[in-house]
C-alpha cells in the first residue's frame, strides 16, 4: 500500500513538472509578448512606444532572454513561492492569485454542493419512478438546463434581478464591503451575493448529473441483487439507498479529479459575465495580455489540482467500492 502511494506521488510530481514546461511553452507560442500588448494598450491613451523603448522594456522584464532562461528564472521564483511578477498587475503573482483563490473556492464549493443537493435526489427519484410525470418534468427541465448556455442565463438573470428585485449587479460584495476587512457583516454580504452565481454555475452541472445518476441507477435497479433484497423483505428505502445508489455513485467519485480544476477555471465565461472576483477571469485576461508568469502559474495550479484530485478520487473509490478494495488485497 505504501509503495503504491509513493509510486503515485513520484508520478504526480513528474506530471506537475511536465505541466509547468508545457504551460510556459504554449503560452509563449503565439506571436508577440507582453510588450506588444503593452504597446497596444499605451496607444489607446495616445502614447507611442518606440522600438528602442520597447527593447529597453523587454530587457527590464527579462523578456529578451531565451525561453529556457526565462523558464528557469520563473522556476526559481516558483520554488520560493513567489511565482514571479504579474506584468500587467505589477504585483507578485502570489498576491494577485491569493486574493482571489479563496473566493473562487467559496463560489465553486457552493456551486458543487448545490449541484449535488439538487441532482442526486432528483436523479434517484427519476430512476425509481421512471416515466412518471415527475420524471418527465425533471428530464424536461434538465435538458433545458443543458441546452441554455450558462453565460446567457447569467445575463438574463442579472437583468431580471435588477429590473424586478433591485439586486446589485454582479460581483460578490456590495461596494462598501469590497475593500473592508473580513467581518460578520462582510460575510453576510457575501452570503447574500452567493446564491445567484452558485445557481448559475451549478445549473448546467445539475442537469448533467441528474441524467447520469438516473442512467446509472436504472442499470443497477434491474440487477438480481435488488430483487433478492426485495424478496427478503428489506424496506424499499433501504433497498434503494443502501446498495444500488452506492454503486451508482461510483462514476461521481472517479470524476472528482476533474471537479477540482473545474472549480477554478471551468466557469471562466460565467465568472466574467457575473464579474466575480475569481481566478477564471484573471486567467483569461492574463492570456490576452500575454502575461506568461500569471497565466503560467494559474495553468500550473490547475495541473496540480487535477493531479491531486485524481489522487483523491483513487482513495475515495477504495473507500466507497469494496470490490476495488478486495482487488487490492488479492
Amino acid at each position: 500500500m505504501v509503495a503504491y502511494l509513493v509510486q503515485r506521488l513520484i508520478l504526480a510530481l513528474l506530471t506537475v513538472w511536465a505541466i509547468s514546461v508545457l504551460a510556459f511553452v504554449i503560452i509563449q507560442l503565439p506571436p508577440g509578448d507582453y510588450i506588444t500588448s503593452y504597446i497596444a494598450q499605451m496607444s489607446a491613451s495616445g502614447g507611442a512606444v518606440s522600438e528602442q523603448e520597447a527593447d529597453a522594456l523587454r530587457q527590464e522584464y527579462g523578456l529578451d532572454k531565451p525561453m529556457l532562461v526565462q523558464y528557469f528564472r520563473w522556476m526559481k521564483q516558483v520554488v520560493q513561492g513567489r511565482f514571479g511578477m504579474a506584468l500587467e498587475w505589477r504585483r507578485p503573482v502570489s498576491e494577485v492569485i491569493g486574493d482571489r483563490l479563496w473566493l473562487t473556492m467559496v463560489v465553486s464549493v457552493a456551486a458543487i454542493l448545490l449541484t449535488w443537493l439538487l441532482a442526486l435526489p432528483i436523479g434517484i427519484y427519476s430512476a425509481v419512478r421512471q416515466y412518471s410525470p415527475g420524471d418527465y418534468l425533471a428530464t424536461f427541465i434538465g435538458f433545458i438546463g443543458l441546452a441554455v448556455p450558462s453565460f446567457m442565463l447569467a445575463l438574463v438573470l442579472m437583468y431580471l434581478g435588477f429590473r424586478y428585485f433591485n439586486m446589485s449587479i454582479g460581483g460578490l460584495f456590495s461596494d462598501e464591503f469590497v475593500e473592508a476587512p473580513w467581518s460578520l457583516a462582510k460575510t453576510w454580504d457575501l452570503m447574500k451575493h452567493l446564491p445567484l452565481p452558485a445557481l448559475i454555475l451549478g445549473l448546467a452541472g445539475t442537469a448533467q448529473l441528474i441524467r447520469i445518476m438516473r442512467a446509472n441507477l436504472l442499470d443497477e435497479l434491474r440487477k438480481p441483487y435488488v430483487m433478492t433484497a426485495r424478496a427478503r423483505g428489506v424496506s424499499e428505502r433501504r433497498v434503494i439507498l443502501k446498495y444500488p445508489v452506492r454503486v451508482a455513485l461510483n462514476p461521481f467519485a472517479s470524476t472528482i479529479g476533474y471537479l477540482l480544476p473545474y472549480v477554478v477555471s471551468g466557469s471562466i465565461i460565467v465568472s466574467l459575465v457575473l464579474s466575480l472576483p475569481t481566478v477564471g477571469p484573471l486567467l483569461l485576461k492574463a492570456l490576452v495580455a500575454q502575461d506568461m508568469f500569471l497565466a503560467g502559474t494559474i495553468v500550473l495550479l490547475l495541473g496540480v489540482l487535477t493531479v491531486v484530485g485524481t489522487f483523491l478520487s483513487d482513495l475515495l473509490l477504495l473507500w466507497i467500492d469494496p470490490r476495488i478494495r478486495m482487488e487490492g488485497k488479492r
Binding site: E53, I169, G170, V178, P281, A289
Partner: protein, 694 residues
C-alpha cells in the same frame, strides 16, 4: 367567427413597433441638432437631438482684480487644520491660484463619486479625470489655449523658445514647493539618462534636434530649440509627452511629462544615492533593478506616497478590486467664491470584469457618472431606465471624421497584384463609393453619426470645407463599377466577382479588424463586405486580438485595417491615424512611417506623388506659425480625401467615450462637452467642479 376575441395587452406587432421607436427612432432622426437649429417643421424634437445639448463649460477668471480674497475649504480638511495636521487653506493654495467659474453654479463639498473600471490596464479611466496637472490646456471649446499648471506662457517671436510662468507658492500634494527645479531635475536626470529614456522623444524635438529645459528663476522655466518650433505651444497644451502632465506620462513605465517631484524621486535615483544603494532598494522591494523600481515609485496609479499636482490622489492603487482616490489638500484651483477645489471628497472605482456588467451597473444607477466604456448600442436600455433610476443620458459627439476608417496600407507588398490595386487611387475611390454609409450609420451608430470622408468636424479649424465631406464618399455603385472596369478589372467570375489581372482567380481584399473596439469594427466590415458584392469586390474579414492587430500592422502584413481616425482633428499632435509618419503605429504603412521618421535613411519612400506631398507638407508645418499651419493641415486633408488614402465611413459620433450617464444628483454637468483626446474628456469640463446636490 362572429366575435373577435378581445385583445389583452399589446400585440406582437405593436410591441415590435414600440421597440423600434426606442432604437430605430434614434436612427431615423439622423441626429437633427442642425434641423432643430433651423426650426424646421412641427414634428416633435427627435430623441437623438434631445440627448445632445449645447456646448458649455467652466470658465477661467484670469484677471486678478476679480479673484476672491477669502478662501474656504472642505470640512474634512478643516478638521485636519483644527487638529494641526494641515496648514490653513491660505497657505496651501498658491498665491496665484487658478480661479474657475463653474459651468452652472458654486457647488457644495463632500461625497464619493462612484465609477467603474476594467482592471489594471484601464489607467486612462483615471488619467483623464486628474488631467489638471497638464502644463497648459484648452478652453472647453477645445480650440483656444489656456493656462493650467503654468499660469502664463510666452512664445518667442522667432519660435525658438517658450517660457512658462509657474504659480508662486504652488505646492505638491505633500506640501513641498513645486518649482522650476522640478523641471530641471526631470530634464537632466530623467530625460538625459539613457537607462530611463533610451531615445529622445519626438514631442521634444524639431527636425530631429532635441530641445533643452532651463531654469530662469524659481517660478520661470524656458524650453529652447535650435530651430523655430511654433507648434510647441500646441504640444504643451495637448495630450503629448511634454504637455500631458505628470500623471499621464509617468505611469505604466513612462518617463516623460516635463516635470517630476524631484525631492521625492531623488531617493530612488542612482545619481543621488549611488548605483548600489539604488539597486539594493529595488531588490528589497522585490524589483529586478532601480529602473523598474523608480518607474513604479513615480506611477501615480500605484504609489499613494507619490507627490502630485492633481485634484485627487490615489489611496487604493489600481491593481486592487477598488481603485480609490482622495482629494489633494494642496490642489491649486479655487472657485469664484474662494472655495478650494475639488468639491468631491473621494472617487471610488470598482472593477467590472467585463463590459456587459459595467453597462448594466450603469443602467442600475451604481455609478454617479460614467462616460467611459458605456456603449452606444446600449442606448435603448439606458433611456428606458433613466427616470426609474434617476440619471441623465447625454451624448458628446467626437470631432474626428470616421469611427471606422478603412486604413489602406500604402507600403503593402506581400501580394504584388493586390498591392498594385491598393496603390491605385481610382481603385480606392471605387471601394469608397461602394460603401453605403447610411446603412452603416443606421445599423451601428443608431443614426447618430455623420457619414462621409475622413475630414474632421466642420467646426474644427483643420476642416478643408464642407464639400470635402462627400467627396468620393457617397454611395454610387454605377460610377464605382465604371471606375473598376476602366482601370482593368472588368473580367468577372460566375458569381459576379472581379478577377485578378494576373489570372490567379478572384481578387480578394482582406479587411483586418480588431476585437474589442468601441464600435464593432468586425461587424461593420462584414456589412461592407456585403455592400461590395454590388461592385464585384470580394472582401475577407479577418478579426484578430488587439495586440496581434498592431503586431501585424508593424510587420507590414495588412492590406486594409479598420480603426477609428481619432485624434486627426488636431493632426499635428496626433497624426498617426491620418498620415504614415509615426513608426510606433502607422496603419497607412509602417515602412513609410519609418522612412519619414528616419529622415529617409530607413524604411521605404512612398511611390505616390500626392501622398509624398502630404508628408512633406506635414514635415514643414512644425516650424510655421499657427495660421499657416491651419492652411497646411487643410491642404493635407484635401490630398488625403481626394486620393482616398484612408476611406472614411461614419464619424463625429459619441461611440468613443461619448455616452455620458450622469446621476441627477450630480451638479455642474455640461449639457454637452467636447469629446476629444487633446481635451482629455472630461478634463476640459473640470471634474474638480463636479459636486453632489443636497
Amino acid at each position: 367567427m362572429a366575435t373577435t376575441p378581445r385583445r389583452k395587452g399589446p400585440s406582437r406587432r405593436e410591441f415590435i413597433r414600440d421597440a423600434a421607436l426606442l432604437t430605430g427612432g434614434l436612427a431615423a432622426t439622423g441626429l437633427g441638432s442642425r434641423a432643430i437649429a433651423q426650426g424646421q417643421g412641427s414634428a416633435p424634437p427627435k430623441l437623438g437631438a434631445q440627448l445632445i445639448g449645447k456646448l458649455e463649460g467652466p470658465e477661467l477668471i484670469l484677471d486678478p482684480a476679480k479673484w476672491p480674497t477669502k478662501f474656504s475649504e472642505a470640512p474634512m480638511l478643516a478638521e485636519l487644520v483644527k487638529q494641526g495636521k494641515l496648514p490653513p487653506v491660505t497657505e496651501r493654495i498658491p498665491k496665484e491660484p487658478l480661479v474657475i467659474k463653474p459651468v452652472h453654479e458654486i457647488g457644495r463639498y463632500g461625497g464619493t463619486w462612484r465609477r467603474g473600471f476594467t482592471g489594471p490596464g484601464d489607467q486612462e479611466n483615471g488619467n483623464r479625470i486628474v488631467s489638471a496637472d497638464k502644463l497648459l490646456f484648452w478652453e472647453y471649446t477645445g480650440t483656444q489655449h489656456r493656462p493650467c499648471v503654468a499660469r502664463q506662457w510666452l512664445l518667442a517671436d522667432d519660435g525658438k523658445s517658450i517660457t512658462l510662468y509657474l504659480r508662486k507658492g504652488h505646492k505638491w500634494s505633500d506640501g513641498k514647493p513645486f518649482t522650476a527645479d522640478d523641471f530641471v531635475f526631470w530634464y537632466e536626470d530623467i530625460y538625459l539618462n539613457k537607462d530611463l529614456v533610451p531615445t529622445p522623444h519626438p514631442d521634444f524635438m524639431i527636425n530631429g534636434k532635441s530641445g533643452v529645459v532651463k531654469k530662469i528663476d524659481e517660478t520661470t522655466v524656458i524650453f529652447e530649440f535650435p530651430e523655430p518650433n511654433y507648434l510647441f505651444l500646441d504640444i504643451l497644451a495637448g495630450s503629448t509627452a511634454m504637455g500631458g502632465g505628470q500623471a499621464l506620462w509617468q505611469m505604466a513605465g513612462r518617463t516623460m511629462g516635463a516635470y517630476t517631484p524631484a525631492h521625492y524621486v531623488k531617493q530612488f535615483h542612482p545619481k543621488y544615492i549611488g548605483l548600489d544603494q539604488a539597486n539594493a532598494k529595488a531588490k528589497a522591494a522585490n524589483f529586478d533593478g532601480w529602473v523598474a523600481y523608480i518607474k513604479n515609485r513615480w506611477d501615480w496609479t500605484l504609489n499613494p506616497e507619490l507627490p502630485v499636482l492633481t485634484p485627487w490622489k490615489v489611496v487604493t492603487p489600481i491593481n486592487n478590486p477598488t481603485w480609490a482616490m482622495e482629494r489633494n489638500p494642496f490642489f491649486y484651483e479655487v472657485d469664484t467664491a474662494g472655495n478650494q477645489l475639488p468639491y468631491i471628497d473621494r472617487i471610488q472605482m470598482t472593477v467590472a470584469e467585463n463590459l456587459e456588467v459595467l453597462n448594466l451597473r450603469a443602467v442600475a444607477g451604481q455609478y454617479d457618472l460614467q462616460e467611459r466604456h458605456t456603449a452606444m448600442t446600449k442606448l435603448p436600455v439606458f433611456l428606458e431606465n433613466r427616470d426609474k433610476v434617476g440619471y441623465d443620458v447625454r451624448l458628446d459627439p467626437a470631432l474626428n471624421g470616421s469611427d471606422a476608417t478603412l486604413q489602406v496600407n500604402h507600403s503593402y507588398e506581400a501580394d504584388a497584384e493586390v498591392a498594385k490595386w491598393l496603390h491605385t487611387a481610382d481603385f480606392r475611390r471605387a471601394l469608397s463609393m461602394g460603401i453605403d454609409r447610411d446603412q452603416l450609420n443606421e445599423t451601428f451608430w443608431l443614426g447618430i453619426g455623420t457619414p462621409g470622408s475622413v475630414a474632421p468636424a466642420d467646426s474644427t479649424p483643420f476642416n478643408p470645407g464642407p464639400e470635402w465631406r462627400k467627396k468620393w464618399s457617397t454611395l454610387d455603385v454605377k460610377q464605382s463599377n465604371t471606375l473598376l472596369d476602366k482601370i482593368g478589372l472588368s473580367k468577372k467570375d460566375g458569381e459576379g466577382y472581379r478577377l485578378r489581372a494576373d489570372g490567379k482567380g478572384r481578387l480578394r481584399i482582406e479587411l483586418l479588424t480588431s476585437a474589442g473596439a468601441f464600435i464593432p469594427h468586425s461587424q461593420v466590415a462584414e456589412m461592407i463586405k456585403e455592400q461590395w458584392k454590388k461592385i464585384g469586390i470580394q472582401a475577407d474579414v479577418k478579426e484578430v486580438e488587439r495586440s496581434l492587430f498592431f503586431t501585424r500592422i508593424r510587420a507590414n502584413e495588412h492590406q486594409i485595417a479598420i480603426w477609428a481616425n481619432d485624434g486627426t482633428e488636431l493632426l499635428y499632435l496626433f497624426p498617426r491615424h491620418g498620415l504614415p509618419v509615426d513608426p510606433a503605429e502607422s496603419l497607412l504603412g509602417t515602412p513609410l512611417a519609418v522612412w519619414y521618421a528616419s529622415g529617409g535613411k530607413q524604411g521605404k519612400a512612398p511611390d505616390d506623388t500626392p501622398l509624398l506631398k502630404a508628408m512633406d507638407l506635414f514635415r514643414s508645418a512644425n516650424g510655421k506659425r499657427a495660421p499657416e499651419r491651419v492652411k497646411i493641415a487643410q491642404e493635407i486633408f484635401k490630398i488625403m480625401i481626394d486620393g482616398q488614402y484612408s476611406i472614411g465611413t461614419v464619424g463625429q459620433s459619441p461611440a468613443t467615450m461619448g455616452v455620458r450617464i450622469a446621476s441627477r444628483k450630480m451638479g455642474n454637468m455640461a449639457s454637452r462637452q467636447i469629446n476629444a483626446q487633446h481635451c482629455r474628456t472630461p478634463g476640459t469640463s473640470q471634474p474638480s467642479t463636479y459636486y453632489f446636490k443636497a
